[in-house]
C-alpha cells in the first residue's frame, strides 16, 4: 500500500470513511459507508462528487503556425476546435489499436498563460502516455504536465445548480463539451461540462492546494454526496462508455470498439494518423469483432473475460466489462462478439461457472444520456 500514490483529497476520503482500492497506481476511494449502489442511485437522482485526480492532466502550448500539426497523434479534429470547445479523442498506435482515450480542450479565452490545449489522459500508464505525446507532438507543441492540479467531477441533475451557487454565476450557456475559466474564492479553475456517468455534470481542474476546500464546499450542499470508483464504474457502464484497459486497449481498434464517430472525416481523407491503413480498411469493409452491449437473461453478472458463445457452443467473443446497473435495474455488460453477432437482439450465451446463460445483444447506452446540449 505504501507504494501507492495519494491524491490531494486522500485525507478527506479517509475522513468520510472510504473503503480504499488501488487504481492506476493511486490509493482511491472504492466506496463510502452508504455503498456503491446507493452512490450510483444518488448520482442519477441528485449529484455525486468524484475525485478523479489520479487522471493525468497536461497543457499543450502551441506555436501559432503549428495548429494543424497538433492533431497528428489524435484521430479527431483537434486543430479546428474553437477556444472553449472540447472533444473526446483517441490516440492510436501503428497497428490501429488504441494507445489511450483522451479529452482534449482548446483552452478558453481569458487565461493569462495564452493559447493552447488542455488534455486529460487515463491514470494507467500516465507517464508513458504523456511521454509518447510529447514525442508525437514533435516541434508542434510543448507539453507540460499539470501535476499541481487536482481534478474533481460533479455529476448528476443537481450538479449545475450546485456549481452556479458555488461559483456565483449562471452556467446556462456552458453546454456539453465546452469549458470555461471560472473563479471560486479567487482560485481560477478550468471548468468543463462533461463527465463519465451519462449525466449532466462538470469536471473541474483546480490547484491541488485548494482542492479539499472546494470539495468540502460542494459536499456542504444537501444534493451532493462523495462517490467512489465502484459507482463510477457502474455509472459509466450503464452509460455505455468504454473503460481504457478493459473495453478498449492497444489491441482493439476504434472501429471494433464502435468509436468510428471519433475518427473524423477529414482525418480519414488525409490518412495521417497512426494505424490509419488498418482503421480505414475496417471502415470500408468491417472489423472481425464488435464491442456490443449485452443483457444476460438470467440473474447473473457477466464479468471481464467471461467467454461468449454462439448457440452451438463455439466461442465468439469475451466480456470486457460487466456489473449490476442499479438504475437500469439488472445486470449489464460490454463485450466483443464476432462479426455477424453485433446486431441488436442477436442471441448469444455466456459461460458462467458451470452454466451457460442466454444473453441478448442490445443498443447502447443502457441508460439514456442526460447531457446539457444546445
Amino acid at each position: 500500500m505504501s507504494t501507492s500514490k495519494q491524491t490531494p483529497l486522500y485525507g478527506l476520503h479517509q475522513e468520510l470513511g472510504a473503503k480504499e482500492t488501488v487504481f492506476g497506481g493511486y490509493l482511491m476511494p472504492l466506496s463510502y459507508p452508504n455503498g456503491s449502489l446507493q452512490e450510483h442511485r444518488h448520482t442519477r437522482a441528485r449529484a455525486g462528487l468524484f475525485d478523479i485526480s489520479h487522471m493525468g492532466q497536461a497543457r499543450i502550448r502551441v506555436a501559432p503556425d503549428a495548429f494543424e500539426k497538433i492533431a497528428a497523434p489524435f484521430t479527431g479534429d483537434i486543430d479546428t476546435l474553437a477556444p472553449g470547445e472540447m472533444v473526446y479523442s483517441l490516440m492510436t498506435n501503428d497497428a490501429g489499436g488504441i494507445h489511450d482515450d483522451v479529452i482534449v480542450s482548446r483552452l478558453p479565452e481569458g487565461d493569462s498563460d495564452g493559447d493552447g490545449f488542455h488534455i486529460t489522459v487515463n491514470a494507467g500508464g500516465k507517464e508513458t502516455n504523456l511521454a509518447y505525446l510529447t514525442n508525437a507532438l514533435k516541434s508542434a507543441g510543448a507539453l507540460q504536465e499539470q501535476d499541481d492540479k487536482a481534478l474533481l467531477a460533479l455529476q448528476g441533475p443537481d450538479a449545475a445548480r450546485v456549481m452556479e451557487s458555488e461559483l456565483g454565476c449562471s452556467l446556462a450557456d456552458l453546454f456539453f463539451m465546452q469549458s470555461r475559466w471560472l473563479v471560486w474564492k479567487d482560485v481560477t479553475c478550468l471548468v468543463a461540462r462533461c463527465g463519465y456517468t451519462g449525466e449532466d455534470g462538470f469536471e473541474i481542474s483546480i490547484p491541488a492546494t485548494h482542492a479539499e476546500a472546494f470539495a468540502r464546499a460542494l459536499l456542504s450542499h444537501d444534493a451532493v454526496e462523495a462517490i467512489g470508483l465502484g459507482a463510477r464504474d457502474s455509472l459509466r457502464l450503464e452509460a455505455g462508455l468504454s473503460l481504457y484497459g478493459q473495453d478498449i486497449t492497444a489491441t482493439t481498434t476504434p472501429i471494433e470498439a464502435g468509436l468510428a464517430f471519433f475518427v473524423s472525416k477529414r482525418r480519414r481523407e488525409r490518412k495521417d494518423f497512426p494505424g490509419s491503413d488498418t482503421i480505414i480498411e475496417q471502415l470500408k469493409t468491417h472489423p472481425d469483432r464488435h464491442l456490443v452491449g449485452l443483457l444476460p437473461q438470467d440473474k447473473a453478472l457477466l464479468r471481464p473475460h467471461t467467454e461468449i458463445l454462439d448457440k452451438n457452443g463455439a466461442t465468439i467473443g469475451e466480456v470486457t466489462s460487466g456489473g449490476f446497473g442499479a438504475s437500469f435495474g439488472g445486470a449489464v455488460a460490454l463485450g466483443y462478439v464476432a462479426h455477424g453477432f453485433e446486431k441488436p437482439e442477436s442471441e448469444v450465451f455466456a459461460k458462467i461457472r458451470s452454466r451457460e446463460i442466454a444473453a441478448r445483444v442490445t443498443r447502447l447506452p443502457f441508460v439514456k444520456h442526460n447531457y446539457y446540449r444546445k
Binding site: 456503491s36 449502489l37 465502484g230 447473473a300 456489473g323 449490476f324
Partner: protein, 124 residues
C-alpha cells in the same frame, strides 16, 4: 439454539434441533460490498461438508458459499430473491441463506465467534 459457529470461508451456522441455519458473516458482507444477486440451491439437495452451496454476487465479485457441514436443504431464504441487500443489512440474521437438515449436528470442528474474530484479524 446452539452457539453460533464460523468457518474459514466466512460462513456462519446456528443449529437448532437437527436444522442448521447458514449465512455469510458480517465481515464477509463488508468485504463483498453491495450484494445484487444470490443463487440458492434447490430444496431437497443433499450437500457434503465444503460443497458449493450458494453464490453471493456483488459488483466486486461472485463469492461461493460452502456448506459448513453435511446435510439436506430444507429451506432457502425466500426474501433474498427480491431483497438481496438483506445480506448487507443483516448478514447474520435476516440475511440467512439456507437451512440444512444436518446428518451430524456436531459443529465442534468450527470456530467460535471469538476464534473467528481472531482469525479475520490475522487474515487482514
Amino acid at each position: 439454539m446452539s452457539e453460533r459457529k464460523y468457518t474459514k470461508q466466512h460462513e456462519w451456522i446456528s443449529v437448532e434441533g437437527d436444522v442448521g441455519t447458514i449465512g455469510i458473516s458480517e465481515h464477509a458482507q463488508d468485504q463483498l460490498g453491495d450484494v445484487v444477486f444470490v443463487e440458492l440451491p434447490a430444496v431437497g439437495k443433499k450437500l457434503e461438508a465444503n460443497a458449493e452451496m450458494a453464490v453471493v454476487e456483488s459488483n466486486k465479485a461472485a463469492s461461493d458459499v460452502y456448506a459448513p457441514v453435511s446435510g439436506e436443504v430444507v429451506e432457502v431464504n425466500p426474501q433474498l430473491e427480491d431483497r438481496p441487500e438483506l445480506i448487507n443489512e443483516s448478514a447474520e440474521d435476516k440475511g440467512w441463506l439456507v437451512k440444512l437438515r444436518l446428518s451430524d449436528t456436531s459443529t465442534d470442528s468450527l470456530m467460535s465467534a471469538a476464534d473467528y474474530q481472531n482469525f479475520i484479524k490475522n487474515e487482514s
